[in-house]
Amino acid sequence: MRTALGLVLIAALMAPLVPLALWSVARGWFFPQILPATWTLEPWMRAFAPRSDIPGALLTTTLIALAAAGLALALGIPAGRALGLYRFRGKALVELALLAPVIVPGIAVGLGVHGVFLRLGLTNSALGVVLVHLVPTLPYVIFVMSGVFANYDAEAEAQARSLGARPLQVLWHVMLPAIAPGVMVAGLFAFLVSWSQYILTLTIGGGRVVTLPLLLYAQAGAGRNDQAGVLAMLSLAPGLVILALVARQLSGRGMTFGGTR
């Protein structure tokens, strides 16, 4: 029964992707044909041809997502630690403020940030895009990490100090191994969230910073279903890989973000 339900759920989630996958390998596919008349790898060849902008976009998207995820972790781990371990005045307010980017529509955030970045000279640059990607990624990281730290026993650090570990050694040998599973989950999610950003990349990048979602929207808008299909498949790839990687963490027993002990 549970297996059947799972299969239905998977089918419902995967179904919309089927036409996209087919488009990427079809030559001429018209209503009312159920399947394309002829098959071809031509859209894929074209996508990776020397003059194509897809390989460049793939690299840009990957680097931006890596940078955004890395930065989000660097900021989010200490913030999550503070929220998870300590009680302080105004904590509820801080938590609400951290949620704000999730509540406020991306377009509003993007336009507001654009004004600020314009003055700072950060628009139309990859750096600006990385920074603005912190808006949606950082809350994810902070919430995952505050959950991890809520179950973390900081006494282990005191014990390590008394056994002769310097503060940096404590960080490396005691804290990081204990929170590693959470860091991995948070980092992968941050990577994915950045990877699929459209509005924020467009507003801050000004079209100069070209990522996969930008190309995908452009091709889909232009009715280039074959190229849109290829881009959709490429966009999907890291998500599937990551899902496979964290499947154990996310399924059933492993599904405690604080499962570090």
Binding site: D153, E155, A158, A160, L163, G164, A165, H173
Partner: protein
């Protein structure tokens, strides 16, 4: 090894009404094991943390061998604190846990392996080096924590309630192990406990800490039988307090004149004696009382009796308690050596 001196330590936790440490002073001699005894919340764990350097005191000095260590971070102090929970690192196996401190000092691998093996043998866990902490029993975990500290050959070992998480039979075993290892290594040790019996067995001396300071320090028996003040007497289960006056080796009060042991404090005060010291029968310091109540408490029976408006409680074995029937008179002897005077109470 290290001689430990605490001088007038003062510490108030933020937002706390009363200080956790209130003019705490203590001397632990080189190679000595002192049991720091006190009820929960008396500040004994805080004291250990201050000595280890994990918290700074508001005022006062911690000295190792006479030199102040106030400016040293925990990792540079000669003291190692073993936490109550053991605090084994879950992501390391037993041997890696025990070798942690040596790895932090970047010792050669070969030396670490040898010393870890030696420490594990000391706590009789020689063959469990590859186990993970979650595969160990509570007693084994505590022994790994002990080995992890001993492997560093610290000048001062601080043990925070090392037996509190163990079952009764394991407790006795672990107590003997700690005692033996301390004797063998000669490491100056301060062990914190809330258990009187544990303190008496473990400590060369027992220091009773109440309300952030030491009330009395000495051999276990002295604290039981010669309490320094009312709080000490009460902590050890003292319940008999007779007002009166002590002079020339005798105590005058509502029970008449009682002969005191040598060295009892003089002047106005309270006579105290432990309930289990009272014996049925006649002789020196014998008094007649009216039994009010008897209560079975397992090994012993608690008998409450009254004379001249004053209540005494006695704890007696079943045979001795048989003569006590509520409403009838009994003749009790208050042995001279069991009496003590709390001056000025």
């Amino acid at each position: 090894m290290t001689r430990l001196t605490l001088e007038n330590l003062q510490l108030r936790h933020p937002g706390a009404e009363r200080p956790a440490l209130d003019a705490l002073s203590l001397d632990v001699a080189d190679g000595e094991m002192v049991a720091l005894l006190g009820p929960s919340g008396c500040g004994k764990t805080t004291a250990l943390r201050v000595i280890a350097g994990l918290i700074g005191p508001d005022a006062g000095e911690v000295r190792f061998d006479g030199a102040s260590v106030g400016h040293l971070p925990p990792e540079r102090r000669e003291a190692v604190l073993v936490f109550q929970s053991g605090q084994l690192f879950a992501h390391m196996d037993v041997a890696t846990n025990v070798g942690f401190g040596l790895r932090m000092q970047r010792r050669p691998k070969r030396e670490i392996a040898a010393r870890v093996a030696e420490a594990l043998a000391q706590v009789q866990l020689g063959d469990l080096g590859h186990r993970r902490p979650h595969e160990l029993s509570g007693g084994q975990r505590q022994r790994v924590a002990l080995a992890r500290a001993l492997v560093l050959k610290p000048g001062l070992l601080l043990l925070d309630e090392p037996l509190s998480s163990l079952d009764a039979h394991l407790r006795t075993e672990m107590r003997a192990l700690i005692r033996r290892l301390q004797r063998e290594t000669g490491i100056t040790t301060l062990v914190v406990t809330h258990d009187q019996e544990e303190a008496a067995v473990l400590g060369d001396r027992v220091a009773l800490m109440l309300g952030g300071r030491i009330h009395q320090i000495g051999a276990g028996a002295a604290l039981w039988n010669r309490p320094a003040d009312l709080d000490v007497a009460r902590f050890f289960g003292g319940c008999n307090f007779i007002p009166g006056r002590s002079s020339d080796g005798a105590f005058d009060g509502p029970l008449g004149q009682l002969t005191l042991p040598e060295g009892a404090p003089e002047g106005e005060g309270c006579l105290t004696l432990r309930p289990e010291a009272i014996e049925p029968g006649d002789g020196e310091n014998a008094v007649t009382l009216r039994v009010i109540e008897t209560r079975f408490e397992g090994l012993l029976t608690r008998i409450t009796a009254e004379v001249a408006g004053l209540r005494l409680e006695a704890l007696m074995r079943a045979g001795a308690a048989r003569g006590a029937v509520p409403g009838q008179d009994v003749r009790w002897r208050l042995p001279r050596e069991a009496l003590w005077v709390l001056p000025g109470v």
